[in-house]
């Protein structure tokens, strides 16, 4: 990711900032500019909301593929979490072994390093999921 793009996306990656449609109340993450249900009536009216950081595992997959940025974490879990507010958010689940994960498991957001350009480059931070016991 380029530095300008990473910098623009700080907010929603650091704090799980989504948008809420004022007409139907649906919450979107990543943030959307337009509600796909209310279309024109939502344009320019979408509100920023901070999504509460707890939820549960809705679905998961174990990734064994050799991705350079995640070499130190392999094999790792990628999940779709259903947050308490109802919105579904996808991301990595860490601090738990693949054999211990289950559907419905409580998770919460944790602030982690996502990747770094190289040893001299910028460090990218963002959210991951961790078990919430």
């Amino acid at each position: 990711m380029t530095i300008p793009r990473y910098w623009r996306e700080f907010q929603h990656r650091y704090r799980l900032i989504g948008t809420k449609c004022p007409k139907c109340g649906r919450i979107y993450f990543p943030p959307r500019e337009v509600c796909p249900y209310c279309h024109r009536e939502s344009i320019g009216k979408m509100q920023k909301v901070e999504i509460k950081n707890t939820g549960k595992v809705y679905s998961y997959t174990v990734i064994h593929q050799d991705v350079p940025d995640f070499k130190f974490l392999k094999p790792y879990l990628f999940i779709i979490a259903e947050m308490d507010s109802g919105v579904k958010v996808s991301g990595q689940l860490v601090d738990v072994s693949p054999e211990d994960v289950r559907i419905g498991m409580p998770v919460r957001i944790s602030f982690r390093r996502i990747r770094e350009e190289d040893r001299a480059g910028i460090i990218e931070y963002g959210y991951k999921f961790i078990p919430d016991e």
């Binding site: 950081n53 130190f72 974490l73 601090d95 602030f111 460090i123």
Partner: protein, 346 residues
């Protein structure tokens, strides 16, 4: 009165046992355990660093009490992720405090966090800010095979300091500083060096005990007037001996003595012990807290729990001892991978 409005700690989940490190280096684990009074230490995950630990500790503090009107954030550490670029900016952004806030990183070996606390106290008392944040966090490094490898650990604690609704008043702070070469790391070096036996008497014990004595003199208190005492914890032996030298009993230091299970979290060390005490303290309890940083200096605090502690939501974040107990053990091979001690190809 200026004091702690909220607090939170974060200890990474992973642990390595003394036996496992001793096995690799052909040393006697029992010898080390009885010598250092350390059984295991915390290890950060490969995606954790001082910035992530600081954010997690501060989120725990904010979950207990959501404090508005934060004017400063200072992060004390000797393992800031960047040599040039502040950790405090990352923390401020992650918490949504930017842009109207002042921020900086602090450095003073293991007492950078308490130096940050004192700065915030002064800013609050002068009326410059309403509330401020002081964090001490580290992911410390010991050279492979060095005695420090058994203790160099990761963790951190955040304090929100203000004048209103304090759960613990800080009635006095006092410091001692000298130029003492007991422990250092030169720019560009991966691992620190220490002055061996020199780290004990002229460094740790001299600074810690003189600060503790002076605070008791200034407050007109004696060891038995404190419910709890907590001292910097480079290992289990030093704080236990300092407590004994000063006349404190084991029952006063037990709650805050966390180093035997998670190791020395450097800038997070004493303040995470203090956090463990705040997890159970009751109104009117008195706490004597003294940090130590090599180089060298000590900051001491006389703290009294207020009535506000009764309505404070401690249960909204995991207690320190609960975090200590939920650790998962890894072996030395995984440890070297997590700590990125393996030399990778291009």
């Amino acid at each position: 009165m200026v004091g702690i409005v909220s607090y939170g700690s974060y200890i990474p989940r992973w642990r390595i046992k003394v036996e496992e490190i001793a096995r690799v280096w052909g040393e006697d684990a029992e010898d080390i355990k009885s010598g250092l009074f350390i059984y295991s230490k915390s290890v950060p995950g490969p995606d954790e660093d001082t910035a992530t630990i600081s954010v997690e500790a501060l989120r725990n503090a904010m979950n207990r009490k959501s404090v508005k009107d934060v004017g400063a954030v200072y992060v004390g550490s000797e393992s800031h992720p960047y040599a040039v670029k502040p950790t405090s900016t990352i923390v401020a952004e992650a918490m949504g405090f930017t842009p109207e806030i002042t921020a900086a990183d602090y450095e003073f070996a293991c007492k950078a966090g308490t130096a940050a606390m004192q700065s915030v106290m002064g800013m609050v008392e002068s009326g410059m800010i309403k509330n401020g944040i002081a964090i001490g966090a580290d992911t410390s490094q010991g050279a492979p095979g060095d005695a420090l490898e058994y203790s160099a650990a990761a963790g951190g604690t955040a304090f929100i300091i203000g004048n209103d609704n304090t759960i613990a008043d800080i009635k006095r702070t006092y410091s001692v500083t000298t130029d003492t070469p007991d422990f250092w790391r030169r720019e560009g070096q991966d691992y620190p060096r220490h002055g061996g036996r020199f780290t004990g008497e002229p460094a740790y014990f001299r600074h810690v005990t003189s600060v503790a004595k002076k605070i008791m003199e200034l407050m007109g208190t004696k060891p038995e007037d404190y419910t709890y005492a907590v001292f910097h914890q480079p290992n289990g032996k030093f704080p236990t001996r300092a407590a004994r030298m000063l006349g404190f009993k084991e029952s006063q230091i037990k709650q805050g003595l966390i180093v035997p299970y998670i190791g020395n979290t450097y800038s997070g060390s004493m303040i995470t012990g203090l956090s463990a005490i705040l997890d159970i303290a009751k109104p009117e309890d008195r706490i004597l807290a003294v940090s130590f940083g090599s180089g060298a200096g000590s900051d001491g605090f006389h703290i009294e729990i207020t009535k506000n502690m009764e309505d404070y939501r401690r249960e909204n974040a995991k207690a320190v001892w609960k975090q200590i107990e939920s650790g998962k053990y890894i072996d030395y091979a995984i440890y070297t991978k997590f700590k990125k001690k393996i030399k990778m190809g291009d």
